[in-house]
């Protein structure tokens, strides 16, 4: 029995994926916790950006949404939303975190609807800035709870581009952002095959088997030849993380 829950594990894996000096778009919840955790652990000059208009805010109390005044307190600048989003297009945003209702084998994301848009089974909230991050961030990390209904063969609606149909499709369409670099889940880390751009399991978390991941993935899972096992969260990492969310608003056990 591990001394951490899936949410804590995933946040710490997200934190480790970040590097010092980066500019990061991180939405409320697990992505924001990853970014703040990285700042405390190993990336003191990493800065967080919020779509609404916050640059390098001091986050003293976790916001419910990153679009509130509370989230931009003590920023060094409070630009207009469009200027924040244009930093993406210009190449300033090193990392964008995304999640979605459906993610397919090429890292495409659906946050618009289940079913077709003409006859939706469920209309979802929509892109927000997700499409823009997926289009133009220098790299995207998807953070997601790993379940079969979420990891699908093909998204019902392509809200945010991963590698589109795979191969060189993304580059050919003219997109300049780097696309999805990592998918970080509670089961492992998935990356994309250089040639086919298909999602490939490159690491499992301690105690997780390849089969377990396969079972919870809705498409034929590729597995790296040198499949690794991630290093479990250290006590220091866990201690530092739990201090950020003492009320366990986001770091609850169970799914996330």
């Amino acid at each position: 029995m591990s001394n951490y829950n899936p949410a804590e594990l995933t946040v710490i894996m997200g934190s480790r994926a970040l590097q010092d000096g980066q500019l990061v778009f991180a939405g409320a919840g697990l992505p924001l916790l990853s970014a703040i955790h990285a700042q405390k652990m190993h990336a003191p000059s990493l800065s967080i950006l919020f779509e609404v208009g916050g640059v390098a805010p001091r986050i003293t109390s976790l916001p419910r949404s990153t679009n509130e005044a509370r989230s931009v307190r003590r920023s060094v600048a409070t630009p207009a939303t469009i200027d924040m989003m244009l930093y993406l297009q210009r190449g300033f945003v090193d990392v964008g975190f995304l999640g979605g209702a459906q993610i397919d084998r090429h890292g495409n994301i659906n946050s618009s609807c289940i079913g077709t848009l003409e006859k939706p089974k469920v209309r979802l909230p929509g892109s927000g800035g997700a499409n823009d991050i997926a289009s133009s961030a220098n790299r995207v990390f998807i953070i997601s709870y790993h379940e079969k209904r979420r990891f699908v063969e093909k998204v019902d609606f392509l809200t945010s581009p991963g590698f589109l149909e795979g191969g060189q499709a993304r580059e050919k369409t003219g997109l300049m952002g780097g696309g999805v670099e990592k998918v970080i889940t509670n089961l492992g880390i998935l990356e994309f095959d250089k040639k086919t751009r298909s999602m490939t399991l490159t690491a499992v978390h301690p105690g997780i088997t390849e089969d377990e991941v396969r079972e919870k993935t809705g498409f034929e899972l590729l597995v790296a030849e040198d499949l690794k096992t991630t290093t479990p969260p250290s006590d220091e990492e866990l201690h530092s993380l739990r201090a950020l969310d003492p009320e366990k608003r986001y770091l609850k056990a169970g799914d996330f």
């Binding site: 949404s65 931009v72 469009i82 618009s112 979802l124 909230p125 929509g126 927000g128 997109l175």
Partner: protein, 315 residues
């Protein structure tokens, strides 16, 4: 609105520096049924709630509302009949209260009532409108289904050979905006993120400005760098303290989370969702005699508490 017509409306506008103070009722009288109305702020931030409140009370119909991210106010606009279409990048009850069941009811019945753009895509529509150009190139939305459903045109830059999308400008009939301070001429100073308010103010034919506080023109001239929206964009100025309530106004008050929660939780639990919203509208929108009576429904304790949490500057 047609590009040439949108410009002509600005050409013909009286741009005099003159007193534009009026009542909420008269200001909202400028809005017509089926108008295209751009709403300032973003999600819970600096929503010009007083104007939306009055729009609903005046029983406006089938307006197309533009908002970067839409929250509970979208429910109220839909159920009241004021909103025929929401043009936005995101429409939900809020991160804490999940997907809006009201949005789902409307959009699943008639998908055209929720016109989705990416946030940058929608922002660029206003930017182009504000710059006086009919379209603008971008890389965003390339290759996505959003590109397809919006019917966007591809474009090859003749200088670089780059493949781009072209985003069409939008010039709304009216923009509604709430600022922390403004003078009687309409010189508005926004603190905290200005969201898309500057772009929408320049893109729209008319601007209705509500403000927490009308200040003397000399105060504006003391700090002209802080003026985001100049007087000549603005057509009506209404002093309206707590004009975003129960949403927030940066530096003044935070959202009334408990009150939003009452609505959000109530809606989640209600069996008849539309009926629930109708009752809410009746209590909060139709019954109060004026905006101050509306604020009374939240109560002094809520106003003081949200102010305590939200205030930044000595006032």
């Amino acid at each position: 609105m047609d590009y040439r017509k949108a410009r002509q409306e600005i050409v013909e506008k009286n741009k005099g520096i003159r007193d534009k103070r009026t009542t909420l009722e008269e200001a909202v009288g400028m809005i017509k049924d089926k108008d295209h109305v751009a709403v300032g702020g973003l999600q819970y931030t600096r929503t010009p709630m007083g104007v939306l409140w009055e729009i609903i009370r005046q029983k406006k119909k089938e307006i197309t509302f533009y908002k970067p991210l839409m929250s509970f106010e979208g429910d109220w606009l839909f159920v009241s009949g004021a909103m025929g279409k929401a043009v936005t990048s995101w429409f939900s009850g809020g991160v804490t209260w999940g997907v809006s069941k009201i949005m789902r009811t409307f959009a699943e019945r008639d998908p055209d009532t929720f016109e989705e753009w990416s946030l940058l895509g929608l922002s660029l529509r206003f930017k182009a409108g504000a710059m006086g150009i009919p379209c603008i190139p971008t890389k965003t939305m390339l290759g996505s289904d959003l590109e397809k459903i919006r019917g966007l045109k591809r474009f090859t830059c003749p200088y670089s050979g780059e493949e781009m999308l072209l985003i069409p400008a939008v010039n709304p009939d009216v923009a509604i905006i709430h600022s922390q301070i403004a003078d009687k001429y309409g010189n508005a100073q926004i603190f905290g993120p200005p969201c898309l308010d500057i772009e929408t103010a320049k893109a729209a034919s008319k601007v209705i400005l509500t403000t927490e506080q009308i200040v003397d023109n000399e105060h504006i001239r003391d700090a002209p760098n802080s003026t985001n929206i100049p007087f000549f964009c603005v057509d009506a100025v209404v002093e309206l303290p707590f004009g975003c309530y129960p949403h927030e106004c940066y530096g003044r008050y935070e959202p009334a989370y408990e009150k939003l929660g009452e609505y959000g939780q109530g809606l989640l639990k209600a069996e008849d969702k539309i009926g629930f919203v109708r009752e809410y509208l009746d209590k909060y929108f139709y019954q109060p005699a004026d905006f101050e009576e509306y604020l009374e429904l939240f109560g002094v304790r809520s106003l003081l508490e949200t102010t305590r949490r939200g205030r930044i500057w000595p006032q």
